[in-house]
């Protein structure tokens, strides 16, 4: 039986990055994944005649440039598109253009323009501090060790250095909802809606739900890397997966695709390896799981191998999500009221007001589909024609909010909802329906099947304060180490938790190497 230093479960971006850093540190590593292609949520698939769609993650908002250069992802074929502006579509065709801290159009007042600059610069101050917390291992608060003490001191100092006003504001808003904060700053409903959209993407919260300011700051952290807006991966998200896989291999890691791990094996209270769906077993000093905590502990380890208290925490780890995805292949470039063709390369959002988002959210709470949804649209083929046959285009959109398990069941509902979504897009792009060749709706339930995301949650677990930082995923298994010796978490279910995001890999390296070498 071949023995590795480390087995990484899951060839998602976090798994691959962890593997790369471990291999770089001289460990023998094998990455195992049941899917045929690497990348996990950073994946593409073929659709219709000659189309390539990013079938899970759509935008790069927070990819750490440090990781890109460490792993030479550029040389391995990763190329990112332009940073996009956000165009908030208004029903009357007079749209709102938001780029960084600049906003124009739709009768926006100079007061709101100034307010946005003030707001964004304060957010920058806040995310700078959060970034400090994210670049480090989330410090424990009571069981101190020096690493944690130092991080805590750094954070405390950073908080003080913000100045009294900022410190007060941060401590005031960090736990509340984006709805109130938006109303404190802005008047323009469209602007408030477009900004609030970033606070609820990938969650099961509405703008009025406390905690949404936290998730807004979490997304805004990408700005700390100088990312001015969401970017698309040239060739589709799958290219990121490919590049990461090549990087890992070039650093000496073995990647075995198409073989799923069926269980994590324990001997005398220590995790010693894994069993594959082929029946074969692999042994290793450590096992890293980039699967979400529920899958890891409930399905792979099994409750019978962990203590009741921990099993309870796993069971109650919240992984709900109301984010679905819409794929349309189009015979030509769609035309949106009031948009020039080259505007179509930008990020288009349909979130007319915060109340519109909230009323899209309400029905989901009762496992229903509301009459109108909120969209985060990309037409990637404008910037990257390689994704479609020449002259043809595709439209992909993140859709909020569709329930994980509607009462009628998805089979009955899917065609209805799909039609309703296209109808709603038609308000802004009347000719769209005629251009559609093939269409596809990916529900949260589908994400669970296709990408192994419990509850369809992109973050591997809701990003609420009580499931973030030193509390992620749950007390007793924080700081990437689990209660099981030899088993580590390196997925988004561990701090800091994100879809296209990468510190955990680096931290995993420091942890393991200090432990295992």
């Amino acid at each position: 039986m071949t023995k590795y230093d480390a087995i990484v479960i899951g060839a998602g971006h976090n798994g691959l990055i962890a593997a790369s850093y471990l291999a770089k540190a001289g460990h023998s590593v094998i990455v195992l994944d049941g899917r045929a292609s690497p990348g996990g949520c950073a994946s593409s698939k073929a659709m219709g005649e000659g189309f390539t769609v990013s079938d899970c993650a759509q935008w790069i908002t927070q990819l750490d440039p440090q990781v890109v250069s460490d792993l030479k992802l550029g040389q391995h074929g990763l190329s990112l598109g332009e940073a996009k502006a956000t165009i908030a579509l208004q029903a009357d065709g007079d749209h709102l253009m938001i780029k960084g801290d600049q906003v124009s159009g739709a009768g926006i007042t100079s007061t709101d323009q100034a307010a946005l600059r003030t707001f964004k610069s304060q957010i920058q101050t806040f995310t700078a501090l959060m970034n400090k917390a994210y670049q480090a291992r989330a410090p424990k608060l009571v069981d101190h060790n020096w690493t944690d003490r130092i991080t805590l001191m750094k954070l405390g100092l950073g908080l003080k250095l913000m100045g009294r006003a900022n410190m007060q504001d941060l401590m005031r808003i960090i736990m509340i909802n984006i709805y109130d904060v938006m109303n404190e700053h802005f008047d323009h409903e469209g602007l408030k809606g477009a900004l609030a959209l970033d606070a609820i993407t990938g969650t099961n919260m509405g703008p009025r739900s406390p905690n949404t300011v936290f998730s807004y700051l979490h997304r805004a952290i990408g700005e700390q890397f100088g990312i001015k807006g969401p970017q698309q991966v040239i060739g589709g998200m799958g290219q990121l997966g490919m590049a990461l896989a090549q990087a890992a291999q070039s650093l000496g890691a073995t990647i075995q695709l198409g073989t799923a791990v069926t269980s994590i094996n324990k001997t005398d209270d220590r995790v010693t390896g894994v069993t594959l769906d082929t029946g074969e077993s692999l042994a290793a000093k450590v096992v890293l799981s980039s699967a979400d905590p529920k899958t890891t502990f409930r399905d792979l380890v099994g409750y019978q191998h962990i203590e009741t208290g921990m099993a309870r925490r796993v069971e109650h780890f919240r992984t709900r999500s109301g984010t679905a995805k819409l794929h349309l292949t189009l015979s030509g470039l769609p035309s949106f009221n009031g948009l020039a063709d080259d505007d179509l390369s930008e990020r288009l959002v349909i979130a007319p007001s915060m109340d519109a988002i909230e009323s899209a959210f309400n029905p989901m709470k009762y496992a229903e589909c509301g009459p109108s949804q909120v969209f985060d649209i990309s037409i990637p083929t404008v910037e990257d024609p390689s994704l479609a046959p020449s002259g043809q285009h595709q439209l992909t959109a993140l859709v909020h909010y569709l329930p994980y398990a509607p009462t009628e069941g998805w089979d009955a509902l899917r065609p209805k909802v799909l039609d309703q979504l296209i109808e709603q897009l038609g308000i802004y792009a009347p000719s769209l329906r005629q251009q559609i060749m093939t269409s596809e709706l990916i529900t949260p339930a589908d994400f669970e099947v296709s990408h192994g995301l419990s509850g369809g949650n992109w973050h591997h677990g809701e990003l609420a304060i009580d499931q973030a930082l030193m509390m992620r995923p749950f007390p007793g298994s924080t700081q990437y180490q689990t209660a099981l010796p030899g088993l580590y978490l390196c997925g988004a279910g561990a701090h800091p938790g994100e879809v296209s995001w990468d510190f955990r890999g680096k931290m995993r390296r420091t942890n393991c190497s200090s432990k295992e070498t």
Binding site: V142, D143, I176, R208
Partner: protein, 565 residues
Amino acid sequence: MNDDSFSIAFRREKCHDFLLKHDVELVLNQYDAIVIGAGHNGLTNGAYLAKAGLKVAVLERNPYIGGATVSRELYKGWYYSNCSYVSSLLRPEITRDLELPRHGLQVVPFGGGATFMRNGDYFGSYSDHDRHYREIARHSKKDANAYDRYAADTSRQTRLIRPFLLKTAPDPTSLKPRDLRDLLEFAGSFTALGEEGLLDTIKFWTASVVDYLNEYFETDVIKAHMAGSGIIGTALGVYSPGTAYVLLHHYMGDVDGNVGSWGFARGGMGAIADSLSKAFRSFGGEIICDANVDEIIVKGGRAKGVALKNGDEYYADIVVSNLDPKRTFLDITNPKDLPADVIKKAENFKIRGSSGKLNIALDGLPVFNGLDPKNRLMQGDLHFSDSLERQERAYDDWKNGTWSKDPYLDMMIPSLTDPTMAPPGKHMMSVFVQYAPPKINGGEWTDEDKDGFQKSVIDQISNYSPNFRDLILHVECRTPREIEAEVGLTEGNIFQGELTFDQLLFNRPFPGYAQYRAPIKGMYMCSSGTHPGGGVMAAPGANAAREILRDLHRPNPVPGGYADD
């Protein structure tokens, strides 16, 4: 003795510099301290200032005292606690220290409660542990076995917070030795929980009440029955993060040391205000009713007194506002006397009307789902929302700017426990209604709206009680409009400000002003809009008095910390 002579000297010296500035008869209106608003916090604050030897006047706009802790005979022979209706949070330290029982306060604990279900069944909540276990087990064995774990975890949280209720919240941005010391003490009691205990606490303080209950229970009606405490008086739904704390806020009180239990003040909530006023007067305090304050007089950046709407003026170097932060800074203070940031903060202060109330005189006892009216459960809090979804949908109505079509009711029949509330054989019913928005679709409440609101409540009750309608003798319906107009609670918010994290502890009412001192020298706040917040607790009033006396370098009779349960 010594103290008295000091205060006399203090007063004489005050009169002296007045004689220089004013004509003599104004001296009659000269006090050491003026408290605006004779609610329970105003009276408590006044009582402690007077106890410390100050000459104190409490000014009340209404012809009667009590603010939201009143008992009123609105229908011959029936006494309505027509705002706050049950007692638990009133600090035992204050009750003892001001000898409220000697001044006539008697709180009678009530047992249990029930949620009546659409299927004709009910879930009863019994104060007897074993009876309660059997009742839960009747709905779910698993939940029955989880209950003790739930009770233990929750009481751990209440024990954690109780000591901080009678303390001023430390300012984390300050480097004053006192703040640092208190912060360390604060942090200390948290770290004492251990890593996991601390993280569980953070979860408790930030999660939604549903997520919190989901950790223990599986049965909808049981969760719905408990979740009610997470939304009462709050503009949030049971699914909204932060509501678990509101639950805690309702659990941290006690009756005679029984933490978490609630009771009726004999004679209605007015008995609390009455006993406080008697204590206040016993220290030489003066209560002036029909005194509607127009503006706080500020001279040379110092508070000097108040001017009434009728033109009268009262003078004091200490002016304490028991009004909510919005009224305090936006209505009765002249903007030119305030820093701009405070006005902005007051404007952004969240004080949302989310509830209304019906007070009903009954000819006899209604029967619900066939439950024997003599059953002890009837003496407790009664509800009809048997599912979390119904509670959350009631909140959706509020978000959409209208009253709940299927509201969450917290219903009581106090006359079952306290016969003095109604004539023999008759009954008084108090129905707290969640949700009712401060405005209807952005517009003011009309009388038609009020009738519609009342109808939705009466209808719901009648669905579970065939004989209810026929028993009704008189109904007082209070929407946020009435509560604001009569009691002076902005938007009719019963807590004088949302209990969300941006408005708790060192953030209440706003960052930088959470230690009861207003930005104007000599001006203070003592309302529920300050730490530790709403509920008939009297802690803000006492804490504010402690800070005032500290500033005056006077002997400080205000109990701090807390007497153990």
